[in-house]
Assembly symmetry: C2
Homo-oligomer: 396 residues x 2
Amino acid sequence: MNHILILGGDGYLGWPTAMYFSNRGYRVTVVDNYFRRNACLELDVGMLYALPSLVERAKMWHELTGNEIKVVIGDLQEPEVMRSLFDGRIRYDWAVNPSFTGLPDTVVHYAEQPSAPYSLINHRYANITLQNNLVVTNNLMFAVRDFERDIHIVKLGTMGEYGTPNIDIEEGWIEIEHKGRAERFLFPRQASSLYHTTKIMDTDLLWFGVRMWELRVTDLMQGPVYGLETDEMEMDDRLKTLFNYDEIFGTIINRFIVQAVVGYPLTVYGRGGQTRGYLHVRDTLQCVEKACETPAKRGELRIFNQIMETFAANELAEMVQKVGNELGYDVQIDHIPNPRKEAEEHYYHPTYQGLIDIGVTPHYLTDRVLENMFKTVAQYRHNIREDVIFRGVQWG
Amino acid sequence: MNHILILGGDGYLGWPTAMYFSNRGYRVTVVDNYFRRNACLELDVGMLYALPSLVERAKMWHELTGNEIKVVIGDLQEPEVMRSLFDGRIRYDWAVNPSFTGLPDTVVHYAEQPSAPYSLINHRYANITLQNNLVVTNNLMFAVRDFERDIHIVKLGTMGEYGTPNIDIEEGWIEIEHKGRAERFLFPRQASSLYHTTKIMDTDLLWFGVRMWELRVTDLMQGPVYGLETDEMEMDDRLKTLFNYDEIFGTIINRFIVQAVVGYPLTVYGRGGQTRGYLHVRDTLQCVEKACETPAKRGELRIFNQIMETFAANELAEMVQKVGNELGYDVQIDHIPNPRKEAEEHYYHPTYQGLIDIGVTPHYLTDRVLENMFKTVAQYRHNIREDVIFRGVQWG
């Protein structure tokens, strides 16, 4: 039975991933330091509903399914916390069987500060982002190097690493011909936030490790994720994953739905031509699963562009407006001055075929999906704090 | 009168840079936390001669020339230490005039852990390298962003960022044509040590800052430096810069000379076809001076390849052997198993014209230069500890 270790197992993607793999017979260990929950408290940005602790969730999951998700609460910036997960010194904060599960077959690395505005609040938040993201990745790389190089690292990258170049975006790599000679290089990366820049650095770091020590790494260049429905979360309301609707941690579609429900005009930044690739949380899980089932080879940095379709911000706002209006909400769209520094109209032509080639079946952003999101959000309408929706963190 | 702030002012390049600018009428402030000296102690790798403290050196310089080099001893990983240099809160550890000099016109950023083997001793040294280099650069970037964006940042990069690609290496940038469209990107980077990878990350970070906040940045992609002679160091033996001859901190030419002087066979790694670009310490100073005199524009990341000629490791060993033998030493060359993971024969065709175009006059590695280095090293022959020359840090 495969063992999967999920770093950042309390997060928006981490917890659904843990249940998904547990439900499919994997042995699962999750690690988290509650960074996201603490940051939400510190910055006073609300979540749509309160969450049980990670230990409580694991207990509920066990009661419901009989499956064990072992829990470690700890900061993976500490090398010895990371290394204890590999050498057996770990003491679980919750487990049915407290003995060491053994080395993982796969490590899914989500343990990063994931917000662009957070990373640009000021120099302190920039440093937190830089240190957390880089040191955790480095500790993971060295642990795999030192304890078992055959372990497959599945790392979450972001489409934002590429930025919005004037050429087609390939899946991670490009062949460059120059003055009669040629070589294959990482596709050029130039991101438009400090957070996204740390993800470029992660790529630099793991590409170094792959070449030096023949590690196996899959890099999932993900677009913004939306949605709340997975089979496991639907088993019990208390198993739902966290849901942020604020500008700092809320992703655009989730945020727009909340704004529509409370009658807060949808905040489109500037002209709204910013085009990105999106996917449903169900597809994140499918992508990670397929990546685990067909691991990268030794010495391979395998890169997938993890998006299912692209939309401009204006298109998303219009889709949410249309569905919201049909459901009886009065949805307004507001083009506010762009707090970010980014192209508001640009060429955007990414390739995204690799994950479909290994078996992922895409879900799309349909009216039906939006309607379901509206219904879930409406249940928690009384929790929504309008004052935290927009904070105006300036890239300036 | 221009004010230049030198981060890492106690180092092999930092101290000669401080005297060079002071001698040319600049107001100079140096900052250092003695990282290099402490690391040499901790790792027990000897320097060729003992050094006065940075404060002692600044005092001697003042006695000799009447010029003031203000000294700050502090760790620039602390954001408030960095920011105090810009907002006037700084208290100098030594100065003739203790009042705040004011904002610098130029910051020369050398404050990094500069050794590839150091960065790969184990995961702890990897983390130290990663954190020091990235956090100092980030603190500098945010200080300039927050206090005065017109300040010119001159940052030391490394030719090692490019690695040894199969195409010609341009000066920092490359135009990529792809499927009928084109854009100019950073030249692809893929380094062969963790240290060199942190320098790629520095580039990622500053390129982000330049695009977001229209900073002025010059990136000097330097090759390994050799030599001990500058006009200022020749004023007094006690003003000499540090000189390492060990595998961790000693650069290849400096190390070979020491090995030749004590009859330790020159340690060529593997087949010795590793080709790199080199320059004399005098040329580092010239390059930094020319870069300061003609700063990058607002919103420009200007990149120069800072080398004057290229040599394979075998060629360097043969040159040192020839000159050494002429001076009466019996110089042997030993091809040892390569502790590094790197190509031992490879294509290497870098461009390096930009610095010459702005007025740098190259010095070359002549027999005469090598003879002078032999003479200096021979003076300190009794200090050389043969047991620390080779440590065998494995990339493995």
